[in-house]
């Protein structure tokens, strides 16, 4: 064992380890930086009013982003209502029914769809829905976000369903249970943890999308619960409006709204992780 070779190997090993560690630090550090920035800058505006009041007229201090929060929840809820079942359904088809060639085609399509810029999805829905309806709406926004959620949901559902061991399917089929019943009552329940996680993550992803919302929901200074009646506000939109506006209160509220948005996404991701590991 030559001493020189050994020492050189050790050195190379240490250097590489150092590079990896610093990369990790950078990654984590950036996230911490963002969170810190958002928190520090927005903490002042965070009060009860922030969560319960509407935006005040131009120039007036105070007010909140209640309508944005409600709007975000509504839009994302709508998207989830459509996107998650459709996504799980597609996942079921891919995992249980599709032959290898058809499956590959669908998977490829889904992957491509995932890569489509969200603004393009927004434009698409704009021309398909908004123009036809004649006005912006939460429905259009929901559809756009559903389109974004769909391929993510489909792929993750397929993976989760595939994790259920084949022996389960065989056991059920051997009892004389039909295919669809097996999927519904045995496979999906067995995969439910993974499916829930996938759904939560898809929701977290969609909840933060901004570009599609610009083309479909537009934003609204006033409170609205109407799905098809007109423009709807959402947190990302509010952040954008306030962020590029001239007033410093607006900027502050933008930071606070950012903080809220990040926290919401974070909470969903955390829940997803807990669901996956705990139960």
């Amino acid at each position: 064992m030559s001493g020189f070779a050994y020492r050189r190997r050790k050195t190379v090993s240490t250097v590489v380890l150092g590079l990896c560690a610093s990369s990790a630090f950078v990654a984590v550090g950036v996230l911490a930086l963002i969170l810190g920035f958002v928190l520090v800058n927005g903490i002042n505006s965070l009060n009860l009013d922030f969560f319960t009041h509407m935006p005040t007229p131009l120039g007036e201090p105070g007010g909140g982003v209640a309508n944005s929060i409600v709007g975000s929840l509504l839009i994302v809820g709508l998207a989830a209502l459509v996107g998650i079942p459709a996504g799980v359904g597609a996942g079921v088809f891919l995992s249980e029914y599709a032959g290898p060639r058809l499956g590959n085609v669908i998977r490829f399509t889904a992957d491509v769809l995932t890569g489509v810029p969200s603004i393009v999805v927004g434009v698409f829905v704009y021309s398909m829905v908004v123009l036809k309806m004649g006005h912006f709406s939460a429905l259009a926004a929901g559809i756009a976000l559903a389109i974004i959620m769909l391929p993510i949901m489909a792929r993750s559902s397929e993976e989760m369903l595939k994790l259920v061991p084949r022996s389960q399917r065989e056991a059920a089929l051997a009892l004389g249970i039909t295919r669809w019943r097996t999927i519904l009552s045995v496979i999906i329940p067995a995969a439910r943890r993974g499916l829930v996680t996938g759904g939560l993550l898809a929701v977290a992803r969609a909840g933060g999308e901004t570009a599609p919302l610009m083309f479909t929901a537009l934003g609204n200074r006033f409170f609205s619960l109407s799905i098809t009646g007109g423009p709807m506000d959402a947190l990302p939109l509010r952040i954008w409006r306030y962020g590029i506006g001239p007033y410093s209160e607006w900027h502050q509220q933008a930071w606070a709204a950012s903080f809220v948005l990040v926290m919401m996404v974070f909470a969903i991701s955390l829940t997803a992780r807990l669901v996956l590991t705990r139960r």
Partner: protein, 291 residues
């Protein structure tokens, strides 16, 4: 045979023929297998272009235990999976020939494979209870998910009956709602047996049911098999020859041909197959001289 207890020479001696008596496990009669058991005729099975079984014919006597033995890869599992049409679940798998269940070909055009599987139950090598369901729900799964029974009282009755038949009732009666995964390996396998019994099949297939279990659990399951054989026709695949010898009434021996297709080389009462096999390949396999 003359022994010392023979009387003085000169006295009349008895002459007698001593032949091996015909045992309860005598050769299977085709008529019996046709009317109440299973008859396999010229069965071939493929996975894609690979032939896994070639011209297999077999008689399974009703209410007896038939063992199928043979070296790895000779097609034993493929064979029994053809009995309940599970073979075709594998993509690109196909079959030719007949499998007659009480005289009806399960592969006749228009036959519903789901119905076949309700008449022919199966227990797998590795116990596979549904992990998201309780013990009770597992046993009831076949009844509920097939829409057979819905009323709670009927289901409960059926579950108890099946668990008793599977010799598991006493061990789980106080905790039927516990997850099935809490049971030991041997108990889980008996649970799977109870689950199969709940659907009231005619034939029970067992694919190496004890290979994942410890010796004590294995013997319990063998005892259970003998009990069940009073009412059900049982076919067991095993690579454990002593088990086949202990448990079965008839034994079928399979071998892999040169092209790796599985063939049936011998079939007869277990007693004969294990003490005086007719085919040399069987002899070699049984005595362990085979490869």
């Amino acid at each position: 045979m003359k022994t010392d207890s023979q009387i003085r020479p000169g006295a009349p001696t008895m002459s007698y023929e001593m032949r091996v008596e015909s045992e309860p496990q005598a050769t299977v009669s085709e008529a019996e297998a046709l009317s109440e058991g299973v008859v396999v005729r010229d069965l071939n099975a493929w996975y894609g272009s690979f032939q896994a079984l070639r011209e297999v014919s077999l008689l399974v006597a009703p209410r007896r235990i038939t063992a199928i033995i043979g070296p790895s890869g000779c097609g034993k599992s493929t064979l029994i999976r053809c009995f309940n049409r599970m073979h075709e679940v594998t993509p690109r798998a196909r079959v030719s020939g007949q499998v007659l269940l009480r005289g009806e070909d399960v592969y006749a055009p228009g036959t519903d494979s789901v119905l076949v599987r309700q008449r022919v139950g199966m227990v797998f090598q590795k116990p596979n209870p549904f992990p998201t369901m309780s013990i009770f729900d597992n046993v009831a799964a076949g009844l509920r998910l097939n829409g057979f029974l819905v009323r709670r009282s009927q289901v409960a009755e059926a579950v108890e009956r099946s668990l008793r038949q599977a010799a598991l009732w006493e061990e789980v009666k106080d905790k039927p709602n516990r997850p099935a995964t809490e049971l030991s390996g041997g108990q889980q396998q008996r649970l799977c047996i109870a689950r199969a019994l709940a659907v009231e099949p005619e034939v029970i297939l067992m694919d190496e049911p004890c290979s994942a279990l410890d010796p004590v659990a294995t013997l319990k399951i063998e005892d259970l098999m003998r009990e069940l054989a009073r009412e059900y026709t049982i076919v067991i695949v095993t690579h454990n020859m002593q088990q086949a010898a202990r448990v079965s009434d008839h034994t079928a021996v399979m071998m892999m041909a040169e092209d790796r297709a599985g063939e049936m080389i011998e079939f007869g009462p277990t007693r004969e197959v294990f003490t005086y096999p007719k085919d040399k390949r069987t002899e070699d396999y049984i005595t362990g001289r085979f490869g």
